[in-house]
Symmetry: C2
Subunit: 314 residues, 2 copies
């Protein structure tokens, strides 16, 4: 089991927990699992910056990782993490939890990348236990190379709102709660006691919206205050979305890509996340969907959990 | 009149307003005053960082500015700002407003550096108009070299809470409201119509507290959640202040420097400001005091305001 904190160096809450867990291992209820606790981007953490040269959590494209002509501190760190704790690393791990925080009001939430069966089973069990909302990120060529994708099973625990560079006790508590629940689920799977719900509610990624911009790239409006801190709340065509400096409201119009069901509600996530401005993302749009659990999902998770058993008797 | 936004490159709200004011001058009610609108640290703004090498808003010590052997992007920018808009610059300004935002819940507030008569008169008139709380920073050798100190009159408008790198419409609105009120006060002074209140309420800086730290500098506790977002709220000895990772509350004990009146309430400001972690400041302590307005204060402001008159008839 791999736990990564500080993949982004200015998200300080999980690294603060990590320091504590290392000093006082009993303070993390690891459910008997063997854990590797890793600071994701130590160089960026030391400078309290998200990254030095490129976003570490976009560096995990196999083709880029394999191309040793492409370097830089983050790519080297990605390769180092895989060499140490990747599924074929020196101290191999099968499951990874990547602990993030956000300036958006995401609450305590999970992010899945694609529909890998083991991820879906794990997320379903976690949702049944804690009620966390799940953002299913898929089919977006503009955002790829996420860390958890390079392990057989893994997800992001995303907690907010909290400013970059700030530690807040409730954010830490939610992060710890999410991780401990995930570890408890895996321990149950290892013991053959995993109970899965019949359904899973996900919010499927549809795409992202940027701020309206002028020809030179200057934003011509900011987020409407009625949208701020309203992650997970449905938005309908005509709802206030942006506000220009003259005080004019710009309303949500479904983008062309959503023309198939333009009148249906979308659910914004990562609303006004500080780090996404440079990516041209003011918010992402999702749709709420219920997925029926498939037997193969639980089987995939059980198959991964089995080798996690420690040497001792159960 | 000089208006500076983005002295810290990751405080994005005032620069966003600045862009708008430049494109649409009527959108700032300048009360007939001639304004210079300046982006404080363009290089840091371009990288969405507080600063590149050193905090621009600690670079304005006269001895350091005068010592041309000391360089770097921020010191050079400080010298450039003074050469352009300092009281003896190419386009000289007499009064400066430096627009900041903070992750602390400071609301819409003013920061004064020392007790210059014109600053006190301006702040008093602003407080009478809008009710803003005032943080009077003085007598702290560990924090010096603030921008506004190099102009004959000037203050900081500080608005929060907002994460670094995030633009929020209410923060922009408060910033604009504060600046427009300040300009209206100066316009009244120029016309000889300045009305000052009889008293001014300030919160006088007493000192700052760091997080409890281990021998290697690692924080051993974070801010107590009951203190988060409680800027301007009194704190008494025994009140919860920090929380350690094991869940133990550490209570406020007056530092030795406050031994003269240890039982009196202190008023925290800049509570858990993201950028102050590196300065070893978890919060600053103040005491609320009422100051009687002195006739000399208003006279000092009037003397400065008079030359602001434009060439046209009044």
């Amino acid at each position: 089991m791999l736990v990564v904190a500080g993949t982004h160096g200015n998200e300080r809450n999980a690294p603060w927990l990590l320091q504590h867990w290392r000093r006082h291992p009993p303070s993390l209820a690891a459910a008997g699992l063997s854990l590797e606790l890793v600071l994701g981007n130590p160089a960026a953490y030391a400078r309290n910056q998200r990254y030095l040269e490129r976003d570490l959590n976009r560096c995990f494209q196999p083709a880029v990782l394999a191309d040793l002509r492409v370097g830089g501190p983050e790519l080297e760190q990605a390769r180092r993490l895989l060499a140490q704790h990747g599924p074929r690393g020196g101290r191999p791990c099968t499951v990874v939890f990547d602990l993030h925080s956000t300036t958006s009001a995401m609450g305590n939430s999970l992010v899945l990348y694609g529909r890998r069966p083991a991820d879906l089973a794990l997320a379903a069990a976690l949702q049944a236990r804690l009620g966390l909302p799940i953002y299913l990120h898929e089919a977006d060529d503009s955002q790829t190379g996420f860390l958890v994708e390079r392990w057989p099973c893994g997800l992001v625990i995303e907690v907010g709102p909290v400013p970059q560079g700030v530690i807040q006790a409730p954010i830490c508590r939610q992060t710890q709660l999410g991780l401990e629940a995930a570890l408890a689920v895996l321990a149950e799977a290892r013991l053959g006691r995993l109970r899965l719900p019949r359904q899973l509610v996900i919010h499927r990624h549809l795409g992202s919206l940027d701020l309206p911009r002028g020809e030179d790239g200057t934003p011509l409006a900011c987020l409407h205050p009625q949208r701020q801190h309203r992650d997970w709340h449905p938005m309908l065509p005509g709802d206030p979305l942006f506000l220009d400096p003259a005080g004019r409201t710009l309303c949500y119009e479904p983008p062309a890509a959503l023309a198939a069901a333009p009148a249906a509600a979308v659910v914004p996530v990562f609303v006004n996340e500080a780090a996404y401005g440079e990516k041209g993302i003011a918010l992402s749009l999702t749709r709420r969907e219920e997925l029926d659990l498939q037997p193969s999902w639980g089987e995939a998770l059980l198959a991964l959990a089995a080798p996690l058993a420690p040497a001792g008797p159960l």
